[in-house]
Point group: C2
Chain length 328, copies 2
């Protein structure tokens, strides 16, 4: 910076003003400084800036260690949005699901002077870690979060589940079974709620949901158990991977999909369209959610205070070939 200032014949402060777009610089001077910067191939040192301002243009993302489609896509959506706004993303993944792990992760990020933190960890336990976090860092819970206390951006899980369930009811199924995700995932819970309440509203009976762990294998195993009950004609599965496992279980049992049993998934992973049969599922717009989360965070940063705004991104049903009216 000193070199640039010397070359342009101004003080380092004027250089700083140019960098930060101050209006207090004459155009001609600005040009001279800009030229000098180009000439010396100068780039502002963001570490020094972060030191003095106490804020870097880095955002922290806390994510759970997983290759699941949802979280991975969310991360990408977040990065794209942040990049567009000129922010960096630093990621920290959680070792465990304990609330202390979240608190630790937040501490680590604070030491980096991040401008804000986005938490992509839709577990009950981890979101509770958000209750007692230090007051001076803006935080957004992405995908799912506690009912209040922090800002949250999420796809409307409840409505997605309703859409799926209603679609099956509309086709004429008497009731719909549900293969749910792990009990401590908030999204799993919301999907259960949407499913159960839609059934109730239609006056349909509801069996308790079965539990998988999001993996295709669990969908397969739980699916086999489910099929011992021969009454099943429609299943709403809490994600596409488990739905794939279920399709396999059905296939092995010689059940036709959708002739004998209809299946609806959740997520719309890229593969879903090419399953056998192509899967009817609920699409989540992770990019949009990333963008919304980011702006929620940026708003807090700009306002200088924590908000509790809740933003919801709608889910959409994608109809393919895995659903049909029940067998006669």
């Amino acid at each position: 910076m000193t070199d640039v200032a010397a070359l342009a014949g101004v003080s380092h402060q004027t250089v700083s003003r140019v960098i930060n777009g101050s209006t207090q610089v004459r155009d001609e001077t600005r040009e001279r400084v800009l030229d000098a910067m180009r000439e010396l191939d100068y780039q502002a040192n963001s570490v020094a800036r972060a030191l003095v301002t106490g804020r870097s243009r880095t955002l922290g993302v806390i994510t759970f260690n997983t290759t699941l489609y949802g979280p991975a896509s969310t991360l990408l959506g977040l990065e794209r949005a942040a990049h567009a706004e000129g922010y960096f993303i630093g990621i920290v993944s959680l070792e465990s699901l304990e609330r202390t792990a979240v608190v630790q992760a937040i501490e680590r990020l604070r030491a980096l002077s991040v401008a804000g933190i986005m938490v992509v960890a839709p577990h009950l336990a981890t979101t509770h870690g958000l209750w007692d976090l230090p007051g001076d860092v803006p935080v957004v819970a992405v995908e799912a979060g506690p009912e209040d206390g922090v800002a949250v951006a999420a796809v409307d899980q409840y409505d997605g589940a309703r859409l799926a369930t209603q679609h099956l009811l509309d086709l004429g199924h008497k009731t719909v079974r549900h293969i749910a995700g792990p009990a401590d995932w908030l999204e799993a819970q919301r999907r259960i709620d949407g499913w159960r309440e839609t059934l109730a509203a239609a006056g349909a009976t509801s069996e308790p949901p079965l539990r998988g762990d999001w993996s295709p294998l669990s969908g397969y195993e739980v699916g086999r158990r489910l099929l011992e009950d021969s009454d099943v004609t429609a299943v709403f599965v809490a994600n596409d991977q488990m739905a794939l496992g279920l399709l396999r279980a059905l296939h092995e049992r010689g059940c036709d999909v959708p002739g004998d049993v209809s299946v609806v998934g959740f997520d719309d992973i890229p593969e879903a369209e090419f399953f056998t049969p192509p899967l009817t599922t609920v699409r989540q717009d992770f990019n949009e959610m990333g963008r919304r989360s980011l702006h929620l965070l940026l708003d807090q940063i700009a306002a200088g205070e924590r908000s509790q705004t809740r933003v919801t991104v709608p889910a959409g049903l994608v109809r393919r070939a895995s659903t049909a009216p029940p067998p006669v």
Copy 2:
């Protein structure tokens, strides 16, 4: 830090020594400082440290904007490894595949004073951006990189393709067709090489490979074209997603897999085991690759100079139900 020093009755420098594990501190003094740190809930400010040392404990990862399984898993593997070593990961995703985009991304990361950079962008064009990068930052190309000039950690694509092709030949297929990835992806090229040379070594004829873009849809479309040639009995597909598309095309055409046509994929995505039929594929150990890449980088950081070491992680064939001897 000053507060801690005051509370412990020492100078700030002694606190610094304790933080950095200097041996030049008496045990009793160290304890006093540690107590003071705990008492004040003190955490060292890594920004200030980065400013003075010129290095932060942050590593930059440059990745291409994608939800593909490979890059996503690699990123996670990298993060896990870095976390274990006490490093942060900052991610920057590429807007385009131009080499200038890579250079820009590297510049951005340099302004953050990252200790080193890992590039996960296995395109021909982007890796060329690695030729003329500034000399003072350690760099590792992950997954694939230029033949020389930078350190590279990669899964052995060539051998993976050989394994797949040889497996099909061993089953008795006269030759094996190949659906390849995009031409400018280095991995796609290596897989083609492995496939072609294995065929040549066996004295089998080889048709030119067909090109997909990694997506299930492209696998489906290219697959339909491929099937117009009724001689096909075995196909090696460059990733599992395209293999899924091909399976669908085969299904629609009434071809039995593996009865009429055998299919081998690449990647071993979690879904592959539950395809119809379960897919024989080549597994890549992304975690291991992440770990190796990181250590390659850490070694460079420790040595203070750039290396050109090349590390290869073996690939493994996973046999499932999509391959069998050719029809008689």
